[in-house]
Subunit: 321 residues, 2 copies
């Protein structure tokens, strides 16, 4: 649920007048995204999403995200496309916040992804990686391996209250990942948060990718590893190798893995699991009183991490060498 | 902010298939209404509002509300119109809740109503009253004069914590209103909650009335009195007689007041102020811990009540005899 800022009808009319999209007919706050305020905007020219960027998003990152969406859309990737004002600006200001008008993208996210959705996801992710290859802006991954130990530090004292021995387990995993984290893998712009709620489908057809506000530069295969974690476990947290194979086949049909990527995937999957384990643990231990949002259980990602620790090679994910 | 229930893509597709509105293209929770869950629904046939009725709405009242909207729309009142399923039902069930698909109504609510908005409101309210005159279903007003004393009872002990002497003031006002409440005024279906957020405008043109979930049978002039309270005070709670005159002129141009209505308006306005004072006081004294919604300050309506107590006749509202 995300509408943190009320926008008056008068402010909105003045803001929209800077764009060539006609007058405002309707504007309704929508429950999408947790970092920003989002509104469905209906004007005389059609339907749009109006996003007000709230404090949790770095203002200096916004041009990267908006230019990326524009770049991807121009290369045929189905994603929300920022609308430029008459003066050519994709970023404006409304109600004291940075604001953008973005094309409305049809589709629903799938609560229970099936094999067919995983296959479509894999293909779309590979197309996204390829389409970003000539994007010239750069944003380092603030949540990659070197950030995990400082992130863990704030939670280690209380970690055992979540699961017995978790503190020691985290330290051992950090030691292992820091020592073995692969370097030099094919890299570029990754989505870095491609969970099911960020992938829209109409029926079984993938209609688009959304929410590029974690996008950054990192190894492509790490993005795949995030998706393996987010899409290929069942509600009981058992790994579904059929879905994983579909995802990986879909991906590698469009963009084949290098041998180094094939070899690294289990370690990258451990890293991806640890990354979400650590941020969830951080949020779980710091729930503000009267919080609007129930934090997600970090133990889900502890179980996923342990699964990947047990994996011998990428073949265990259903990927043929 | 109101999305209390998550609807899965699969449930939604099955629900929408009962209607002749094409397949689902998108569905987003929207922050509108506080009693129900509302979604913007895009299908192959257009844009709709999907409403899931949560616990605070009596299921047995739903046919009254939905039939009323249909009735009003058929008589040219611009309001959300329920869509019937192929089997002719306006009410279905989704995610374990009563649910309806309703036409999407353009417009924005006006944060700072001006004279022109009050005039348009008055006209629209009168047209609404006339259009409801041949509506045959009936729903008594559960929040009229006889309900106020029992409603106040639960707050009297703590009332003085809100404003000194408030408990005694409430009892005296109840005594006065019960003794003098008018009977036999022209009556019919009233909206009973026509605050600015329930009236949509596109620019200065009134585009529709929404949220009929307090609609009931009562005196028409009481509905006018509710609007006087909700629309004609400034943020500093001073009464704006220019706006009141515009509202009343707009109303009486379409549906003239009877002499009894003219005489009763100050008392009805006191009653309307007390009704909202009492429900706000009730909610204010019972804020649940970790509440999502900040309750509204009851003192606003205490000040409005005191203003109406000082009014000599309807002429003080700018209405000519």
């Amino acid at each position: 649920m995300a509408v943190y800022t009320d926008v008056s009808d008068e402010e909105l009319a003045a803001f929209v007048a800077q764009y060539d999209i006609g007058g405002v007919l309707a504007c309704k706050g929508i429950a999408e995204g947790v970092e920003n305020s989002n509104f469905l905007l209906h004007t005389q020219k059609g339907y749009f999403i109006l996003t007000l960027y709230e404090k949790r998003v770095e203002r200096s990152d916004l041009p990267f995200f908006l230019e990326l969406m524009k770049h991807l859309a121009a290369r045929g990737i189905s994603c929300p496309t920022p609308v430029a004002s008459r003066e050519g600006a994709m970023l404006g200001e409304l109600a004291g916040r940075p604001a953008a008008i973005i094309g409305f993208l049809d589709g629903m996210w799938v609560r229970r992804p099936k094999r067919v959705h995983c296959a479509a996801l894999g293909e779309a992710l590979a197309h996204f990686h390829l389409a970003g290859s000539d994007f010239t802006m750069c944003r380092p991954n603030a949540l990659s391996v070197e950030s995990w130990r400082p992130l863990a530090a704030g939670s280690l004292d209380e970690a055992d209250s979540i699961a017995e021995g978790l503190g020691a387990e985290l330290v051992a995993e950090l030691d292992h990942l820091e020592a073995h984290w692969p370097k030099g893998l094919p890299s570029g712009v990754i989505h870095a948060d491609l969970f099911p709620d960020n992938v829209f489908f109409i029926g079984d057809r993938l209609s688009g990718l959304i929410d590029f506000y974690f996008a950054c530069n990192d190894a492509f295969a790490y993005d795949v590893a995030i998706c393996l974690n987010a899409w290929c476990f069942e509600p009981d947290l058992s790994f579904n190798v059929t879905k994983a194979r579909a995802l990986l086949d879909g991906y590698t049909t469009v963009r084949p893995f290098t041998p180094a990527e094939f070899d690294s995937l289990p370690l990258l999957a451990r890293g991806a699991a640890l990354r979400f384990l650590l941020t969830r643990l951080h949020d779980w231990l710091r729930v503000p009183e009267g919080a609007l949002v129930t934090p997600k259980d970090p133990r889900e990602y502890l179980k996923k991490l342990r699964f990947h620790q047990s994996v011998g090679s990428s073949s265990d994910y259903g990927l043929d060498h």
